[in-house]
């Protein structure tokens, strides 16, 4: 078996306020980072400002766009990825509690979500996956493209949507932000299968690359995280071992197919294949599942692969029967279940809700907050003349059914709040879980707590974690590939992601012995500022 690792990077939307005004996301990040430093052993990042490595081998940093991001340590199983993804929630919750203890008048909100609640077409946060890939990435993309589209049935977080083509609900928050089948851009021209190889650590002379996929949603449900990494990881493992996958499952237009699946929460839409056949997302998933089931017997694939197949099969069977049967286990179907019920109570249809969401989007673009507030409350008190004029114009445009339309807008607004609050750390998901309405699957509180302190055993992350605990506060800096002591010039070489041991060496000596090593030269530049 070729060595194999996977991991996740989770972007968090944060906001903060004090009695004197709002805090910037950067200020919130700094508060959280300082709190984490006091709660866990950690080392400063050698390569970036506002970044630390934690004693569980993970990295917490301020990413481009000024938001906190958490990268899990390198994991070997999907259960480990899931536990470490959930550990990020717990660590940030802990950090926020710590901040609020010392700043009781602060308000800090942490949201694990992928879309701006008010401008979803313009603003998105990512949740990136990494997998060790031992074959050409374009070949992997071809084999996995139909999987990348059809896995949307469990790798999304779900959201209310005014997106054209949707009927007020989408399975995936990220689907609308994907424009290409393959590509290397992660910030604008995003692709279903990312082929970015940016850093020297993304590839090796030994033949592996790091496949970096960016279409998964940030999920609160552990089953969704587990299935995403479990199925995709298993398929990469098989490709790495020389299996052929996805043959005959080529989609005519993968990007359009992704959007179609996202806008079809009842999972019935048929997707056109290049051979003229039409299959649903569930049927495509069943094809990949069957390929895995054929490969497993007699193979030396790790035990977690069998577990994944079991959960995968059960999930597809439930989804085929009725997606809402997974309402207590997967984010999108929980939301769908609740929203469908609330629409029933209000006697509003999904299409009417979509119209209301589109109305709200237009209003947010065209009018100020106070005018929108006055419209919702039916109270113009406090508006200036210009705002009052604007309010009158909107009311006029609502026509003869103004009150009914306003009621729908109010309902849409409350449901949007519910949708976002579900993703807030300490929000609706956590409240529902604590009340026993949602299921704990795959992980346990104990596993998650352990993941806040321990790296997955037996790999590079465990070595990094051990070093962080040993070396903290003694002049050491950390990076994924090494640790470095800025005064003693000691260097711990962790460049082999599959390594099992470390030996501190003298950095100048190492450079002299390998003057043409690209990795070391890149690290040398990085360390130049020290």
């Amino acid at each position: 078996m070729k060595p194999f690792l996977m991991g996740s990077e989770i972007e968090y939307a944060v906001s903060g306020r004090t009695p004197h005004g709002p805090l910037s996301a950067r200020e919130v990040h700094t508060l959280l980072e300082d709190a984490l430093r006091s709660e866990r052993a950690c080392l400063t990042d050698a390569g970036a400002m506002h970044a630390i490595y934690l004693e569980n081998g993970a990295r917490f940093y301020l990413d481009y766009g000024d938001h906190p991001e958490y990268a899990t340590p390198e994991c070997m199983t999907p259960v480990q990825v899931t536990a470490h993804d959930k550990a990020s929630e717990q660590l940030l919750h802990l950090a926020r509690q710590k901040v609020l203890l010392s700043h009781p008048q602060h308000q800090i909100t942490l949201v694990k979500n992928n879309l701006s609640p008010t401008f979803p077409d313009d603003v998105t946060w990512g949740n990136h996956e990494s997998y060790t890939c031992w074959i050409d990435q374009h070949r992997a993309a071809q084999a996995l493209m139909a999987h990348m589209v059809s896995r949307t049935v469990y790798c999304g977080a779900g959201c209310l949507s005014g997106f054209e083509g949707s009927c007020a609900f989408e399975l995936s928050q990220r689907a609308r932000h994907v424009y290409h089948a393959t590509g290397c851009d992660t910030t604008s021209d995003r692709a279903l299968f990312g082929t970015r190889l940016r850093k020297s650590s993304d590839r090796s002379d030994h033949g592996w690359t790091r496949a970096h996929l960016i279409t998964k949603d940030s999920q609160r449900s552990p089953l969704g995280i587990y299935l995403t990494f479990g199925t995709t990881g298993l398929l990469f493992l098989l490709l790495n071992e020389g299996y052929t996958l996805g043959k005959g499952l080529e989609l005519q237009d993968p990007v359009q197919a992704l959007r179609a699946v996202s806008c079809d929460p009842w999972l019935r839409r048929e997707l056109l294949l290049t051979d003229g056949r039409r299959l649903t997302a569930l049927q495509l998933q069943e094809c990949y599942l069957a390929e895995c089931e054929r490969a497993l017997p007699g193979s030396d694939l790790p035990d977690w692969c069998w577990e994944v197949v079991k959960h995968w099969k059960e999930t597809l069977a439930q989804l085929s029967r009725d997606p809402l049967r997974l309402a207590s286990r997967l984010d999108p179907y929980y939301k769908l279940f609740v929203f469908d019920h609330e629409l029933g109570r209000a006697n509003v249809s999904w299409c009417e809700l979509r119209d209301a969401i589109q109305w709200l989007q237009r209003l947010r673009q065209d009018v100020s907050g106070p005018v929108l507030g006055a419209l919702l409350q039916d109270d113009a008190t406090g508006l200036n003349l210009e705002e009052e004029t604007s309010l009158c114009a909107i009311r006029h445009n609502l026509g003869s059914h103004a009150e009914r339309t306003l009621d729908r807008l109010r309902l849409a607004m409350r449901l949007q709040h519910y949708d976002l609050h579900y993703h807030e750390i300490g929000g609706i998901y956590d409240q529902m879980l604590a009340a026993g309405h949602l299921q704990r699957v795959v992980t346990t509180p104990q596993l998650i707590e352990e993941a806040t302190r321990e790296a997955p055993p037996g790999g590079r992350a465990a070595l990094r974690a051990e070093c962080i605990r040993l070396f903290q506060d003694e002049g050491w800096l950390c990076e994924w590939r090494y640790l470095y002591h800025r005064d003693k010039n000691d260097f711990v070489d962790l460049r082999d992601p599959f390594g099992h041991q470390f030996h501190p060496v003298h950095w100048p000596t190492l450079l002299q012995e390998h003057p043409n090593d690209h990795d070391l030269l890149e690290i040398s530049l990085q360390l130049g500022r020290y």
Binding site: E11, A13, V14, S15, R17, A25, D63, Y64, G65, H67, E69, T109, V111, S116, P117, F119, D122, V123, T124, W125, S166, C167, A168, F169, D264, P265, W266, R268, Q318, D322, R325, L326, A327, S328, F337, V338, D340, H341, E342, L343, G344, V348, W350, G369, L372, G373, L376, Q377, R410, M413, R414, L415, Q416, H417, Y418, L420, I428, Q431, M432, H437
Partner: protein, 62 residues
């Protein structure tokens, strides 16, 4: 635990869902889940929802 669906579905997004009338047995668990959602939504004023959404508006990531 398996959640059974209880509520009659409205005109659903992307067409109607499967008809479970013959097997859609009510369960206490589903009722409790929906009752909890009702309580959250019923306690929420639209203007407060708008304030919450505006306060959590950010520039986005990546």
């Amino acid at each position: 635990m398996e959640l059974e669906r209880t509520a009659p579905r409205t005109a659903a997004p992307g067409g109607s869902g499967p008809d479970l009338s013959d097997e859609g047995r009510d369960t206490l668990r589903a009722e409790e889940l929906l009752a909890a959602a009702d309580r959250i939504l019923d306690s929420l004023k639209p203007i407060n929802a708008q304030t919450y959404l505006e306060q959590n508006q950010q520039r986005g990531g990546e």
